[in-house]
């Protein structure tokens, strides 16, 4: 960071004046815990006893054989409590909130994973909890909404804008500017105003720390490449941090190619030419926006990748060519998901499957004594409605029809 809160040319804290003091306190609190090994140990212990850390690194032998190239390893963030890497960040912020003495947490959520994780953390820590979720995502991810509510959270469907993740973020900020005295905003990814990108990346670094140790243990040497899907970028930053210093390790972020880059219906910020530098939602990064600076509608089959911006840290690493970016289309994602389920008995979240797509494309470029790691950020159970729909599963449809009739008024 040259300027405070910046990663190269990216980041910053473009916040309304009313939040100035809140951010000052948050920065202080974060600086304090960052320098406190006891805090990190508390975090590690919590994740070890409440979630399932360290999560395993699985050697995907069948897929490796299938592609006939490098050895494919999968970092299993899907085995976290609540089913995704989101738990890491949320539990960490939960500990921080406890230290700050606040009593309520709010969060935005796209796929619903961050919402579920936050609702879970709030239940565990005894905080009040409100989750903002784009109305479209409420529909796409209803099961997650149900669980959030059952865990005691209030889920507010956001009907403004495109009714997706970015709008939920705006709404969360709108809540925060009046509630900041007792409320912490649990930002769900490595975006937003400083210190969020740095803080979320710090908590997520647990993924990469583990993965590096595990691959050395299990494979005997570093991987050639590490793949991660990129929505906001938190799971990617999580695993990449383990290998940033290993210059030879190629790091690949995979964005949502949606219906194809050419169609404009995608969410590829760094893997397409459609994004440009901008400032929104409190930070400077590459945004999918028009020439006036108005944000575009994005599209992805994976709600968690369906976002206009991207982590300022990743924009920096992209600019510096330390991380390269690719996009996977909805259709490619479905094919890779199918293959992964059938070959390995593993069901990655639609978000995570984006990373699989690109790893599969490149696996044949490696030799059998080389390895690659895919970060499986979450599990696909939450996506059953979307997946069953995409595969046009007739008995699922019949089942839903039947249930629907049962509930007919």
């Amino acid at each position: 960071m040259n300027k405070k809160g910046y990663f190269g040319n990216w980041g910053g804290a473009y916040i309304p004046e009313v939040l100035y003091e809140t951010f000052k306190q948050l920065n202080q609190a974060f600086e304090q815990v960052k320098g406190d090994p006891a805090f990190w140990q508390e975090y590690i212990d919590l994740m070890a006893t409440y979630s399932c850390r360290p999560t395993p690194l699985t050697h995907a032998e069948n897929l490796s054989r299938h592609f006939g190239g490098g050895q494919i390893y999968i970092k299993r963030e899907d085995l976290n409590h609540t089913g995704a890497h989101k738990a890491n960040n949320v539990m960490g912020q939960g500990l921080l909130v406890k230290r700050m003495g606040k009593k309520r947490v709010i969060a935005e959520t796209g796929a619903g994973q961050h919402g579920v994780a936050t609702a879970t953390m709030a239940a565990k820590f005894g905080f009040e909890c409100t989750i903002y979720m784009g109305e479209e995502d409420v529909i796409r991810q209803r099961p997650n909404v149900f669980w959030m509510e059952k865990m005691g959270a209030t889920v507010v469907p956001v009907t403004s804008g495109a009714r997706t993740l970015k709008d939920a973020i705006n709404e969360a900020f709108r809540d925060w500017v009046s509630s900041m005295d007792d409320t912490h905003y649990v930002m769900g990814t490595v975006c937003g105003p400083h210190p969020f990108p740095e803080m979320v990346a710090w908590f997520q670094s647990i993924i990469g720390i583990e993965a590096r140790k595990q691959i050395l243990n299990q494979f005997g040497k570093l991987p050639e490449r590490v793949y991660a899907c990129v929505g906001g970028g938190s799971n990617a930053m999580g695993i990449f941090q383990g290998f940033l210093a290993d210059k030879a390790v190629d790091l690949i972020g995979v964005e949502a190619g949606g219906k194809g880059i050419d169609t404009g219906q995608h969410a590829a910020r760094l893997a397409s030419k459609d994004a440009s530098v901008g400032v929104a939602q409190g930070y400077k990064t590459m945004f999918l926006q028009n020439d006036d600076g108005q944000m575009l509608d994005t599209h992805s089959v994976a709600a968690g990748l369906d976002y206009i911006g991207v982590s300022p840290i990743l924009s920096d690493l992209w600019e510096k060519k330390r991380v390269r970016f690719a996009a996977a289309t909805d259709a490619e994602v479905m094919a890779a998901l199918d293959l992964t389920m059938k070959k390995e008995g593993i069901i990655p979240a639609l978000e995570s499957t984006h990373a699989f797509v690109h790893a599969f494309k490149e696996a044949p470029e490696l030799k059998p004594d080389q390895a690659l790691i895919i970060n499986q950020s979450g599990r696909g159970d939450k996506d059953i409605f979307t997946i069953a729909h995409a595969f046009d599963d007739p008995s699922w449809k019949a089942f839903i029809r039947g249930k629907g009739e049962e509930y007919a008024t």
Binding site: E17, S160, G278, Q294
Partner: protein
């Protein structure tokens, strides 16, 4: 004449000035035109023209929807400039641009200020741009002799207020309460203390916004502030009763 002098002159004749706000292109530029005419004719002293942005993080539901519908109806930054030029040429009161930073940033900041200067815009309110992030912005407003209006919040410390005021010009926009635009503020004792803090921190005129809706609100502010800001109230009025209702409303305020 620069904004501060213009306001000072007006203030010399009135106990309190009125500043109104509207979202450009909502519901249409034509309605904007009618509304502004009525505002000016009924004694508004300064008008804040909001260039719509797709992510109006600091705005409440009414202004947020106005932003969204304006963009959906096709309003562009170019059209906003053209319309603002026409207003500044037509009406003899200062006009300001209010918008989020990305609009300036994408336009090219220097171009934005050059053009604003050309068409007679006097100042800017950019709620998501604290001075720390606005070095270039501040330098350019200086260069073009335009007012970078700073915002005080009830959460701002005295030190922070001084810092903001040092970086501001024209007047200070004092947010009456925490939260977004559009909700009613209560002008209670805390508020009086807050205004006293604001006053102590700067010699710039003080504008007070967020939820001012009627004559009694304006009366309460008189003596404490220099400018009463009416935002959401007129937007709602136009939505409910049409642009004709704006004149009588404004007239009733003071």
């Amino acid at each position: 004449m620069q904004l501060e002098q213009q306001l000072g002159a007006a203030r010399a004749q009135k106990d309190i000035l009125l500043m109104t706000h509207l979202v450009l292109g909502y519901p249409s530029f034509e309605v904007n035109r009618q509304v502004i005419k009525q505002m000016v004719e009924n004694g508004v002293d300064v008008i804040e023209l909001q260039i719509p942005f797709s992510e109006p993080m600091a705005d409440g539901p009414v202004i947020m929807m106005a932003n969204q519908e304006s963009i959906a109806a096709g309003a562009t930054v170019q059209q906003c400039f053209e319309f603002a030029a026409e207003m500044a040429a037509t009406h003899d009161i200062p006009f300001l641009f209010m918008t989020y930073y990305n609009i300036l940033f994408k336009y090219d900041e220097e171009e934005f200020f050059k053009k604003s200067k050309e068409i007679g815009i006097k100042g800017f309110i950019v709620p998501d741009l604290p001075p720390e992030e606005g070095e270039k912005y501040l330098a350019l407003t200086k260069k073009y002799e335009l007012a970078p209006i700073q915002i005080f919040a009830p959460t701002s410390t005295e030190e922070r207020m001084r810092f903001l005021a040092d970086n501001g010009a024209g007047f200070i926009y004092c947010v009456a309460r925490k939260g977004v635009t559009g909700k009613k503020s209560s002008f209670d004792e805390d508020f009086a203390a807050y205004m006293a803090r604001c006053r102590a921190a700067t010699d710039l005129p003080l504008a007070v916004g967020f939820g001012i809706a009627d004559k009694s609100d304006v009366e309460t502010l008189t003596g404490k502030a220099d400018i009463a800001v009416i935002g959401t109230a007129t937007i709602k009025l136009v939505e409910e009763k049409g642009p004709e209702a704006v004149g009588p409303f404004i007239a009733s305020l003071r």
